[in-house]
Symmetry: C2
Subunit: 204 residues, 2 copies
DNA sequence: AAGAAAAGTTGAACCAATTCTAAAATTGAG
DNA sequence: CTCAATTTTAGAATTGGTTCAACTTTTCTT
């Protein structure tokens, strides 16, 4: 039943997100005034607030798309990982990090992270936490997969290791987006170094 | 040379911090209006902005005091740690976590963390990052101490392990303050479980 | 001790997010 | 085609953090 009303609604959603994405990137989160987003999306301010509870939720919608793409890309690695624990982890983490600045600027990430801790019960706050959990699960799934293949010792607590690796990576990523001059290769190298101890410990 | 001006300045600082601490706890960060803080501190709004760049910096001053106390408490553990890697880590982390809600409510922590990612270049943003770094260093120092004692293998990258442990703990703490119903014992147990893999790997 | 300079204080005005209101437009059902 | 329900709209009102130009107080100089 995709009536006209449904289609228009979807179209307005898309227009708002497109306008917001463009303006967030151009002017930054704070700099992108709701009025400007409304104008560019060709809707009224009221309509925006009808679709999203607040400015943060608009950013939230954008972040969710990004993270979902990343999760999807990660599935491939989990399904058939490189035949070496260190490389397997590095490949998965590489996908997360390399994708990260495709749609979102560092400033957008900072805002998104801030909002998700500030308002953990808002729609976006909950969604963000859920996404983090899925990323953690994906890393744990990779460890499990490596255990099946026999690259990781069977007696290792894969869940705990997955959490450790994700939490460390996430914290490193937070510090990364906080420093505008920080670069991806250095970030990846630092994480590799940190993981090395773990990799040595869990490998067969 | 403690002239009148100096004393008045110190006094106003104290009054603002006292008023803000009380109001943040009573009304929450958002609920504590600058106007109310000014009234309770018996200064004008303008004066508050003369002493702190923005509302977040007031919270920042309170957080910094708290974290500095924690760092101090931690020094004792590093100086003479329990004679067991797992216990040593658990003791240090225990100090961090148990202290954490002395002055600051979970809501205040959430706001502080949010502000520090949102405005990494503000005075508070920089201070917060520096404090995180010191906590990391303290954990690394503990590992180094354990290496001296001979409880941790000498060929372990202590810095990397310290970072890994701090980043994981910090992320767990962030999730902890995001959920009002979360309790400290469960948090500590979860972190112990995560650290177990590492402890096993680095012990002699 | 007077006068000038420096430093600090004040609160009204500003700005942007959000809420609210009443009117106008659109849709789907009968 | 008509009408009732639902949405959208423009804009005014509200709110609370932040800024700024005028005013005070403190300190310095002679």
């Amino acid at each position: 039943m995709s009536g006209l009303r449904e289609r228009q609604k979807a179209d307005r959603h898309r227009r708002i997100i497109d306008a917001a994405t463009a303006l967030f990137r151009e002017a930054g989160y704070e700099g992108a005034k709701i009025e400007a987003i409304a104008a560019q999306a060709e809707v009224s301010i009221g309509t925006i607030y009808n679709y999203y509870q607040n400015k943060g939720d608009i950013l939230g919608a954008i972040v969710s798309m990004e993270v979902n793409e990343v999760l999807n890309a990660g599935r491939g690695v989990v399904a058939s990982p490189p035949a070496n624990v260190g490389d397997a982890l590095d490949t998965l983490i590489g996908i997360y990090i390399e994708h990260s600045l495709n749609y979102l600027s560092k400033e957008m990430w900072r805002q998104a992270m801030a909002i998700s801790t500030q308002l953990p019960d808002s729609p976006f706050g909950q969604a963000y936490t859920a996404l983090d959990r899925e990323l953690t699960r994906q890393i744990s799934a990779l460890i499990a997969r490596l255990q099946e293949i026999g690259l990781v010792r069977a007696d290792i607590d894969g869940t705990a290791v997955g959490e450790l690796i994700f939490n460390n990576m996430n914290m490193m990523f937070i510090e990364f987006v906080k420093r505008n001059e920080a670069r991806i290769p250095e970030l990846r190298a630092a994480i590799r170094r940190q993981n090395r101890v773990l990799v040595a410990a869990i490998g067969v």
